[in-house]
Symmetry: C2
Subunit: 150 residues, 2 copies
Amino acid sequence: MHFDPRGPSKYVQFADFLRQQIESGELAPGALLPSESALMQRYEVSRPMARKAVAILRNEGLVTTEQGVGTKVRELPAERQPLFLEADAEAVARMPSEHERVELELDYGVPVIEVHIDGEIHLHSADEVVLRAAAPARATKTATRRARKA
Amino acid sequence: MHFDPRGPSKYVQFADFLRQQIESGELAPGALLPSESALMQRYEVSRPMARKAVAILRNEGLVTTEQGVGTKVRELPAERQPLFLEADAEAVARMPSEHERVELELDYGVPVIEVHIDGEIHLHSADEVVLRAAAPARATKTATRRARKA
DNA sequence: CCGGATTTGTACGTATGTATT
DNA sequence: GAATACATACGTACAAATCCG
């Protein structure tokens, strides 16, 4: 690993390097990244730089880290739950506040989807659902499903 | 500002304190936050703690910071562009990679919406659009709009 | 259950660089 | 050019959570 002094900052380059290993599958979903000390030694970076690079990937939702354990490549649910958007509903995506993130038990780097319908607002974890247009109303109307709590 | 030693970490508490000032309107959209040195002096926090607290708000999409200028409360577009979801389309939300973020000129803490349709993928800045179900196909089919490049 | 090793988290300090005003 | 403001980069020390023998 060699850092280009003319390129972007060191931790961005380092994050790019690690991201590439994830996207290439070299670091598979569920796999543990090298520890901070390992990264420091192997690539000759300081601890702050190793941590900043990992933080970037965390904010991108690519990895999660647990104290005392390490940083793992995040595995997204194979099957996303379809979230049907009714004709009179609207949906926006945004990042949760820290409070919401803890409340909904979300990893860092996971947006929320805010569905507005009938004056109510429903929050969903963005990486568990896929939005689809609801079929136009017929005899019976299928109820929209709430995101399940873990 | 007093920090509870039994509570969450100092920078989380400090971020909560600043977030409250934003949500209460005390710090209005467009307003400049106190500079790092000002925060350090007024609230007796170290520079790393002031920076970490602001970083949290940045990752939540609440503020943006420019080097040499300062950190401002982000003002979201009053009018979001409606993004109509066709019956055969799907949409998911996620955080952009650093490369995508720069490419799309997004602030930190702004998710992207990925619309899958006809085997193509279209990316949209999550804070410029609101998703709606497209009206069922009639005589003429309204074309989906692409996100405009700035 | 306990102790030790490992791993990440928190908190502070310093110095220098870069962009803006 | 000077002052201000954020960014980068390195260092230290200790705390907290987890894991393992």
